[in-house]
Symmetry: C2
Subunit: 340 residues, 2 copies
């Protein structure tokens, strides 16, 4: 009857308790590192746990603690398109790594912003298998943010929300300053007609970069030249640049490196030379930016750090280590290479 049956089923606290000659509660205390356990019993229990390779049932724990140690990442985008930009992959990587290191696992939600999105957003908001949420990029409409709020599910936004609600948590980079710095750099280089290729009208990050461009242009008393948005894609950058080629520009600030790469192709296709005929600048400082010909002058944004800060932020909130809302704006840096 006291067989040492090695069943294929998972062990539970009761098993460990029996095998180490203590009660369930004591085993629980050991696992949760409660102080009130004698060193001797702790060792004995730990040894049994190790021996049978026991891992507690997290669903059962969640049922009583009301906490799963799971965060969600929501990317509300037609991702196949956006993923041609390394921004999201890098973000995913830093979020999952940071979360895993802090003992959290990560649930991924990729939704398009159109069509059946309501269903999926509802699915996300009401999903009971997450403690909190990181929302990456803010094409999300206000109603979604409000739904999250009503559900009482903590969340942090990467990128600033369109309407700045003081109690909404977010992490962002200095988009406006980045646009300003790069444009200013072009002005200092005596460029006469400096154009801008925006990303996506409805994205705040895109609008902020454009605002920085405009500030520098106006400070210098120059005329703004704004191309059609390039949708943050290589082809988009190519097409927007084609439009600009008719307008005798001698410098272009693109709202992303990927668009800058597209624009460079258009410039080369037109038989023009960089940076002599046209200077070009990007934003992001993705890996490829250093490998273009000529190497791309751009604004570095700390993508990995963005994910880290967002993750640490949401986890602080979930662990109750932070009560106020937090807004963090990470610094950018002008990287001067040869394209401008």
């Amino acid at each position: 009857m006291d067989d040492e049956v090695v069943s294929s089923k998972h062990h539970n606290l009761e098993d460990i308790a029996r095998l180490s000659g203590v009660s369930r509660s004591t085993v629980s205390r050991v696992i949760n590192q409660h102080p009130n356990v004698s060193e001797k019993t702790r060792q004995r229990v730990l040894q049994v746990i190790d021996q049978v390779d026991f891992h507690p049932n997290l669903a059962a724990r969640a049922l009583v603690t009301q906490k799963l140690n799971v965060i969600g990442i929501l990317i509300p985008h037609i991702v196949s398109k956006v993923f041609s930009d390394p921004f999201f992959p890098l973000l995913l990587q830093s979020i999952t790594n940071t979360a895993n290191q802090m003992g959290y696992s990560v649930t991924l939600w990729l939704t398009s912003t159109e069509g059946d999105s309501d269903d999926i957003l509802g699915q996300v908001v009401n999903h009971r298998l997450m403690d909190g949420l990181i929302v990456a990029s803010t094409v999300v409409d206000e109603s979604f943010i409000q739904k999250l709020d009503e559900r009482g599910k903590p969340f942090v936004i990467i990128g600033s929300p369109n309407r700045l609600d003081p109690h909404v948590n977010y992490v962002d980079v200095e988009n406006e300053i980045g646009g300003y710095l790069l444009t200013q750099h072009m002005i200092k280089q005596q460029r006469q007609r400096i154009a801008h290729i925006p990303g996506l009208e409805k994205l705040r990050s895109s609008r902020d970069r454009q605002a920085g461009y405009l500030r520098a242009i106006h400070e210098a008393g120059m005329d703004a030249i704004i191309a059609p948005p390039g949708n943050f894609s290589e082809e988009g950058g190519y097409r927007s640049m084609q439009v600009l080629l008719d307008q005798q520009v001698d410098a272009v600030f693109c709202a992303s490196d990927i668009m800058a790469i597209g624009a460079m192709q258009a410039i080369r296709a037109a038989g023009l030379c960089m940076p002599n005929d046209i200077a070009i600048g990007g934003f992001d400082d993705i890996h490829q930016a250093a490998l273009t010909n000529p190497p791309l002058t751009t604004v570095h944004q700390p993508i990995l750090r963005l994910g880290e800060v967002a993750t640490e932020g949401i986890i602080s909130i979930l662990d109750g280590r932070v009560e106020t809302s937090f807004h963090q704006i990470l610094p950018v840096e002008l990287i001067i290479r040869q394209s401008a």
Copy 2:
């Protein structure tokens, strides 16, 4: 005492039962669509559920059913590097979309294959908040597969495992055939010195594509010319191509489109013309392949379908609708454009 208290806490089955004047079990039956409920009570209960916006606690359900409706995706890579290729983003998208549609959510694990990987792999294997796992790409060593097996956690591999175990589930594409078709196409075009740029030695998909290349070359009685592996990166393709430029090749089959794009840059930088001087072919048929100059001849692989099949596969297993192991090899297609 019978206050209609609208508390901010979550409702539970008991609440719904009370509000609709039935027992917990009946509510449970309604939610789980059991047949034995009268239409009248069903409607009443559904109305209450809708009214208070009730969503069952999945952790509690999991505790009794032993099933969470969660699958994990494991990508065992230094992802920042691999993600420059749109393969994984597309895969992620199709897996999450398919899973969500089937009522599953998806947990993401990105691990590097080096350093602390043991810890994370252990974390993944022992994580109790997943029913099954999709392992994307097989740099995973045998010991990991064995661990999964021991844990009894069902899994399916995308890409063939290095050692073909008949009871291991996997989904793959016709890598060998793709390599064969493209090489054969170059042979038909009278190319004399056809080289190959492999991806990553330890990846089976890479080796299979190379095997297809070799089969076609040998059938034609030609000499094989194998460049150093390009690591599936654009720079890698560039560098491998530089090596080939010294060897008077007139055609190159690259194991991925991204490497082909890098190779094209090297060819252009050498002042050579495509396809006249050198024909070039890729593998994947990523979006950018149609936009290169000249447009890239390549082998189309159904990436989205790969994710769908893998997801449907693991879910069939989890839902007990399939008892035998399954191996599916999806067809590829030669896409002839202008580069070869």
